[in-house]
C-alpha cells in the first residue's frame, strides 16, 4: 500500500557551499538514487550514516531537494552533533535512507503561489519550484543570515521569480517581515497559496500574518524526529479543531506522518 523503502546507499559526493568565517557549514550531499516509484516536494527522507555505529541512534530528517535518474540530493546546514558528522561524509561511505516520507506541499497548477523560505528552509522549495507544472505562477521570497552563496539559491528553477534578503540585524528582519506581510495580504486577496519553510519564529510570523489576512497557507515544520514513520510520537504538534486529517486524535498530530507540511490554521506552534 505504501511505497516507502529503507535501503543502504552509497555517498557520491558531499559538496560544501560557501563558507562562514572560513568554515564550511552548508553542504549538498549527493547519494545514489533510491528505487522510488514517486515522490513529491515537501516530502523528506530519514538519513543515517552506517559509520555512526550506536553512538547516535537516530537518523536525521532532510527535505528532498532533488532526485534525478542517478542521484538523490539533500542540502544541509551544520547545526549540531549529527550534521557536523554528516559534513565528514566522503565518497563511498554508506548511509541508510528511508523515504519518501510525510505529506507534501499542496500543488495547485494555476494558483498564484508564494514561496516563503527562511534559511535552510529553502531546500524543499527548490524541489517545489523544479517540479511545479506551471512555474510561472510561483514567486519566492528568501530571507537568510549567511552569505547567499551558502544556499542553493542559484539552482532555483529559472522560470520562477525570486528575491533574496540578507538579514544583518533587527532592522533587516523587521523590513523582511513587513515585506512578507504585504505579500501574504496580496496573495490572500487573490485566493493564492502561501507555502513556508524555515525556523519556527519565522513560521510563527507567517502563521500570524496568514491568519490576520485570511490567506490559505501551509507551513513545513522541522520537529525533532526519531522514527520518521509516525510510531514514536516524539515529533507531534498540537492541532486546532480545524484539523481534518484522518487518524489524528487527542489534539496531537505526528509531524512526520501528517506533516511536515500542515495547513497553518490546523496547528499550534510550540513555544520554542
Amino acid at each position: 500500500m505504501h511505497q516507502e523503502q529503507c535501503t543502504t546507499l552509497t555517498v557520491l559526493d558531499n559538496v560544501p557551499f560557501g563558507t562562514v568565517s572560513g568554515e564550511s557549514l552548508f553542504f549538498a550531499l549527493r547519494i545514489e538514487r533510491p528505487e522510488w516509484a514517486d515522490w513529491q516536494p515537501g516530502q523528506f527522507v530519514m538519513l543515517r550514516p552506517e559509520g555512526w555505529a550506536l553512538d547516535m541512534m537516530w537518523a536525521r530528517p532532510f527535505s528532498i531537494c532533488r532526485v534525478s535518474k542517478r542521484d538523490l540530493v539533500i542540502f544541509f546546514q551544520v547545526v549540531g552533533r549529527g550534521t557536523k558528522r554528516l559534513a565528514e561524509l566522503k565518497t563511498g561511505d554508506k548511509v541508510v535512507v528511508w523515504g519518501p516520507l510525510g505529506t507534501p506541499f499542496a500543488v495547485e497548477d494555476k494558483t498564484p503561489t508564494l514561496l516563503l523560505a527562511g534559511g535552510i528552509g529553502i531546500a524543499p522549495l527548490v524541489a517545489y519550484a523544479q517540479k511545479h507544472p506551471q512555474p510561472w505562477n510561483l514567486h519566492m521570497e528568501f530571507g537568510h543570515r549567511m552569505p547567499l552563496n551558502c544556499y542553493p539559491f542559484e539552482s532555483i528553477n529559472e522560470r520562477i521569480t525570486a528575491a533574496s534578503h540578507l538579514e544583518r540585524g533587527p532592522d533587516d528582519l523587521a523590513h523582511f517581515l513587513d515585506l512578507i506581510e504585504t505579500s501574504i495580504k496580496e496573495y490572500a486577496e487573490s485566493d493564492g497559496l502561501v507555502l513556508a519553510c524555515g525556523p519556527t519564529p519565522f513560521l510563527r510570523a507567517v502563521q500570524a500574518f496568514a491568519a490576520k489576512h485570511g490567506a490559505r497557507c501551509q507551513l513545513s515544520l522541522e520537529n525533532r524526529m526519531a522514527c520518521g514513520v509516525g510510531a514514536c510520537l516524539g515529533c507531534v504538534t498540537k492541532t486546532t479543531d480545524k484539523m481534518t486529517a484522518k487518524g489524528v486524535a487527542a489534539g496531537r498530530a505526528q509531524a512526520c506522518e501528517h506533516g511536515p507540511v500542515f495547513w497553518a490554521d490546523q496547528i499550534v506552534l510550540d513555544e520554542d
Partner: protein, 306 residues
C-alpha cells in the same frame, strides 16, 4: 533449526521466533508494514493504551543521548475503544501475536481496561506497564513498591479471563527481585523487563531541560548492561517465563538475553535505527544460530556458566 518459542505454564503463548517489538517503539504495527512482513516477527506489543484518550506530555518529548535516548511521550493514545475499532482490525492477528500494553492510574482502572481487552480475540496477551516513569499521577509508584505491584497484578489477573498477563518491571528500584516475586505471587503469567531508566538531559544554552517533563525514560544500547543484569536476576528469582529487553541492537544481543534465561525478547529503540530493523534481526538471528550451531533455543536458554 527451531526458533519457535512456547512459554511454559498455562499461558498458551507461542511465538514463531523470540523477537517481539517493544511497546511505544513500534506504534500499532501498521506504521512498519511498508518495511517488512509483520507476520515474520515473533509478536508485537502495541503502544500503551489507556481507558480514555490521552494527550500525552508536552513537547519536546524526546532527546538523543549517547547510545540511547530519553523519552517522556507520556502515553499519548486515543483510548482502548478506538484501538479496538480502528487499529486492531488492520493487523494480521491470525498469524501475528499482538500484545496490548496497558496503563492506568489505579488498580480498578487497570481491571476495567483489562476486561475490555480480554474480550478481544485478536489480542494474544496483555502487558501491564506498572513502571512508566513519565506520567506524574503515580505512574512510577506501582512498579517501585512490591505491595502496589501485587495489587495491580491481582486486579488485572481477575479481569483477564484466559488471556495471559505479562507484568512489565521497572529497573528504578533497589532490588528488582522483590517486585518480581511479588507479581509472581499475585498471579502474573509472564514478566517482562525492563522499562526505561529514570534519566534527564539539559540544554546549557537555553538552560532548559531537554524534555518538557524534565525527567524521562532512558532506553537503547546504553542501558543494555543494566537490562541484562535485571533479566538475569529476575530469571533466577522467579519460575514464570521472562521476556527480556533493553538496548537490543543485534542478533548477539538477543542471544545474550536468552543466555541469562529469557524466553523471548523485545526490541525497542533500535527500531529507530532503521524501520526494517526488527525484520532484519529475525533473519540475522537465524544466521547467527546457524553459525554457532544452535539448533534449539530452549537448549541454549539459561545455559550461562557461573
Amino acid at each position: 533449526m527451531n526458533m519457535n518459542v512456547t512459554l511454559p505454564g498455562s499461558t498458551g503463548l507461542q511465538f514463531k521466533n523470540p523477537i517481539l517489538t517493544a511497546s511505544g517503539t513500534f506504534g500499532y504495527g501498521v506504521e512498519f508494514a511498508p518495511y517488512g512482513d509483520l507476520t515474520s516477527l515473533g509478536g508485537i506489543v502495541v503502544k500503551g493504551l489507556s481507558l480514555e484518550p490521552r494527550a500525552g506530555n508536552p513537547m519536546p518529548r524526546i532527546a538523543e543521548t549517547p547510545c540511547g535516548m530519553l523519552n517522556a511521550v507520556g502515553l499519548q493514545n486515543s483510548g482502548v475503544e478506538t484501538f479496538i475499532t480502528e487499529k486492531l482490525p488492520k493487523l494480521p492477528t491470525d498469524e501475528l501475536p499482538v500484545i496490548a500494553n496497558i496503563y492506568a492510574c489505579d488498580p480498578a482502572e487497570f481491571g476495567e481496561l483489562t476486561a475490555v481487552l480480554a474480550a478481544e480475540k485478536g489480542i494474544a496477551a496483555i502487558e501491564v506497564n506498572i513502571s512508566c516513569p513519565n506520567v506524574r499521577e503515580g505512574g512510577i509508584l506501582f512498579g517501585q513498591d512490591a505491595t502496589l505491584a501485587a495489587r495491580v497484578t491481582e486486579a488485572v489477573k481477575k479481569a483477564a479471563g484466559d488471556k495471559p498477563i505479562i507484568i512489565k518491571l521497572s529497573p528504578n528500584v533497589t532490588d528488582i527481585t522483590t517486585i518480581a516475586k511479588a507479581v509472581e505471587g499475585a498471579g502474573a503469567d509472564v514478566i517482562s523487563c525492563i522499562n526505561t531508566l529514570s534519566g534527564m538531559g539539559v540544554d546549557i544554552r537555553t538552560r532548559k531541560p531537554l524534555i518538557a517533563n524534565v525527567i524521562g525514560g532512558l532506553s537503547g544500547p546504553a542501558i543494555k548492561p543494566v537490562a541484562l543484569r535485571c533479566t538475569h536476576q529476575v530469571c533466577k528469582a522467579v519460575s514464570i517465563p521472562v521476556i527480556g529487553m533493553g538496548g537490543i541492537a543485534s542478533a548477539e544481543d538477543v542471544l545474550e538475553f536468552i543466555l541469562v534465561g529469557a524466553h523471548a525478547v523485545q526490541v525497542g529503540t533500535s527500531n529507530f535505527l532503521r524501520p526494517d530493523f526488527s525484520f532484519r534481526l529475525v533473519k540475522e538471528l537465524e544466521q547467527l544460530m546457524e553459525k554457532m550451531n544452535i539448533t534449539d533455543l530452549e537448549e541454549f536458554r539459561g545455559s550461562l556458566k557461573l
